[in-house]
């Protein structure tokens, strides 16, 4: 085919210039691919953090307001003690005493106190169904977040009390795709089924299971209620997972007995019909549940700080503009060099016009040469992009994300010491939730879409350069072109 022969010969003649143009485009395209890959990697890391925090499938999380001061009726149980209402106070000699609400106190020595507390106030369970009926909502599930604190007092007044705690989530077993278990992966046993709604079964986080030597089939005591472990799960790294999951009905019963919640839930997980519906759903829920805290992935994302956020900002701002600038420079260089090449070939094009070549045929030839350089640049650019992504992957330090405590991720670190406190146990509020730092490895990913974009950009660069050259050819009068040779 004559077109190809002519194109090939011309590119071979201008080999150095063709390589220079192709490399310029390759550099621009390679940078775009690298930045896009890094950006995608950062976004992936960020969304990994967020999905771990938030749970896959959950769009809006509603938590009850922070609890007020402990109520006199708040209850817990101390073994070896059948009093229901008590607090820990200091005795006349400085020793701890367990005091009931009617003012009777007894020496705490040798006793163990098990307190089940809720970090959020209750939300009426019927509000869950009400939330599910709101426009834009596809599903809603109630949940209960609790903390079990155990304090053991020594027999001597001089020995310090030993405290431990673990976190407990009551989950709606009929909606496994919503709530804290949605992002967990099962490592052994099985998760809840709808039939477990009121069963004495528990799913345990792998970290907690290891520390407490729990296996599938182990029996776990929570606030003197026993549960059989049916599954061990692992949550993504970024989250602060609850230690134990039990059916929400069981959690509700325990919290009712403990006095921390009055037969209510304290968390609602909501799924929206689409991402576009989330703001409207958020608005609807706010109207339905005034005073609650409503968290969306977007609001959570804005609270993620640390180098992952800096990297995202860097990739989005500096990286993007750097890539755009290099691309513009590459386009400009390609265009100028093509214009210069056309200027040098005026006699050639004039001759072709003289012997009857139509302008569009000559233009096609020149554009074809530019596009060939663009395609070469695209191929080289994609290769450079892959190399850039690999280099970033190899040398980039592991990013860190400082993530806020959230309703879904809310927990106190397992084993956190709990000292003696007022009756009602250790109060928790959203304000006191722990932020924590997680390491997020950055793995730039070159996607098919990015490759397609790169090829389009490079070919567009070639087309632009070819078009500018073509504009000059179209204006060229053969008599003028030939007169410059004579």
């Amino acid at each position: 085919m004559f077109f190809v022969t002519y194109l090939r010969r011309e590119l071979r003649r201008r080999m150095r210039q063709a390589i220079f143009i192709a490399l310029g485009l390759a550099l621009g395209v390679g940078l775009v691919v690298t930045v896009a890959a890094a950006s995608a990697g950062v976004k992936k890391a960020e969304s990994g953090v967020l999905s771990a925090l938030y749970g896959v499938g959950t769009d809006v999380t509603v938590t009850g307001p922070a609890p007020g001061p402990p109520k006199p009726g708040s209850t817990s149980k101390a073994n070896q003690n059948d009093q229901n209402n008590y607090g820990i106070e200091q005795g006349p000699n400085g020793e701890p005493e367990i005091c009931t609400s009617n003012g009777k106190c007894a020496d705490a020595a040798g006793k163990t106190i098990d307190q089940l507390t809720a970090p959020y106030s209750g939300i009426s369970a019927w509000k869950v169904a009400e939330a599910a009926r709101r426009p834009g909502v596809t599903a809603a599930a109630g949940g209960i977040t609790l903390t079990d604190n155990t304090t053991t007092f020594g027999h001597s007044s001089s020995s310090l009390p030993q405290s431990s705690s673990f976190t407990l989530d009551g989950v709606d077993t009929s909606k496994p795709s919503l709530g804290p278990l949605s992002s967990a992966s099962l490592t052994s046993g099985h998760s809840f089924t709808a039939a477990d709604a009121d069963a004495g079964v528990a799913v345990v986080d792998s970290g907690y299971a290891t520390s407490k030597n729990l296996k599938v089939g182990s029996v776990l005591a929570i606030d003197q209620v026993t549960f059989t472990v049916i599954g061990i799960v692992r949550q993504p790294q970024a989250s602060s997972p609850p230690d134990v999951y039990v059916p929400v009905a069981r959690a509700e019963a325990m919290s009712l007995y403990a006095g921390s919640l009055n037969g209510e839930v304290n968390t609602i997980y909501v799924a929206a019909a689409s991402a576009a519906d989330i703001p409207a759903v958020q608005h609807e829920i706010a109207k339905l549940l005034p005073g609650t805290t409503i968290t969306t992935e977007a609001s959570l994302a804005s609270e993620v700080t640390g180098s992952v956020a800096s990297a995202a900002k860097l990739a989005n701002d500096l990286g993007k503009w750097l890539a755009v600038l290099v691309l513009i420079a590459a386009f400009a260089v390609a265009s100028l060099l093509t214009m210069a090449a056309v200027a040098r070939r005026v006699a050639e094009f004039g001759t072709l016009k003289a012997i009857g070549w139509r302008t569009r045929r000559i233009v096609a030839q020149v554009v074809g040469e530019s596009v060939a350089m663009g395609v070469t640049g695209a191929a080289a650019g994609v290769g450079l992009g892959f190399a850039g992504a690999a280099i970033i992957s190899a040398v980039a330090p592991t990013l860190s994300a400082t993530v806020p405590g959230s309703s879904a991720a809310f927990s106190l670190a397992a084993g956190q010491a709990v000292g003696p406190g007022p009756a009602g146990g250790v109060p928790r509020s959203p304000g006191s939730t722990t932020s924590h730092v997680v390491a997020v490895p950055l793995h730039p990913s070159v996607t098919v879409a990015v490759i397609v974009l790169a090829v389009i950009l490079a070919v567009a660069g070639g087309l632009l350069a070819g078009s500018l050259g073509s504009w000059r050819i179209a204006r060229l009068r053969p008599a003028d072109a030939l007169s410059r040779v004579a």
């Binding site: 071979r12 003649r13 006699a347 016009k353 003289a354 012997i355 009857g356 045929r361 008599a479 030939l482």
Partner: protein, 242 residues
């Protein structure tokens, strides 16, 4: 037959209007060899450009077989050049990256001749100018005479009615010049071409049937007594025009 009536061509050079041809009337019969002489800048090349449809007159008409070239739309003028006119340039104007055969082939591209036919016609054209064995050579691998022969093959491969040659021997040595002129003479005789040849060389001009001398944009025609006329050439002696 070419008929030029009252042709004027003016060029705008900055703020000045420069006349290249002024009020030219000329008739060129089919199959005629017209040589055009004159000093540089007196309108010879402009005349060729007008005859070849590379330029349009500022005033007057240039007709070939009654069709005014100046009034043709660009696309038809391009078609006219592709089909009817062969150009031969002083500097050969070969495309340096293409072989002799490919350079000749460029003239057939606008005519949409099929690949096989193209190859056959290119080979025949190169044979006719004595370059059958140089088809694969690049211009840089050929002498000036061979390059001009290639250019002549390119002009003739489309089997045009008219060949316009602008100082075709201007860049050649004496021997090569004689070869090229002999070749043009032979092809003109064999093919019944209308040949308009611009030259500074009086010896070459004498071979034409008529000689026109351009001076200050005006053409004075003289009857030549050279070989074309002496050997019985000329329109009446040509094979029937196509």
């Amino acid at each position: 037959m070419y008929k030029l009536t009252g042709v004027t061509k003016l060029y705008q050079k900055g703020r000045h209007t420069v006349p290249a041809i002024t009020g030219l009337d000329l008739t060129i019969a089919d199959g005629e060899w017209l040589a055009v002489q004159g000093r540089t800048g007196h309108g010879k090349s402009t005349l060729l450009n007008l005859l070849g449809g590379l330029d349009r007159p500022t005033d007057g008409t240039v007709e070939l077989d009654g069709i005014g070239l100046g009034a043709l739309p660009e696309i038809q003028l391009t078609r006219f050049r592709a089909e009817k006119v062969g150009f031969i340039f002083q500097t050969f104007n070969l495309i340096p990256t293409l072989s002799a055969a490919e350079n000749v082939e460029t003239a057939l591209i606008p005519l949409r001749v099929s690949g096989a036919d193209r190859q056959a016609r290119v080979a025949a054209a190169l044979d006719s100018v004595g370059l059958g064995d140089r088809a694969a050579h690049l211009p840089s691998e050929m002498s000036g005479g061979q390059q001009q022969r290639t250019a002549i093959a390119r002009a003739l491969v489309k089997e045009p009615r008219v060949v316009l040659a602008d100082e075709p021997t201007g860049n050649l040595d004496q021997d090569t010049r004689d070869d090229i002129i002999a070749l043009l003479d032979q092809l003109w005789r064999e093919r019944g071409l209308t040949l308009v040849l611009v030259t500074h060389d009086t010896a070459i001009a004498r071979r034409a049937q008529r000689v026109g001398v351009m001076s200050n944009g005006r053409l004075a025609i003289h009857q030549a007594t050279g070989s074309a006329t002496a050997s019985g050439g000329g329109p009446s002696a040509r094979p029937p025009s196509r």
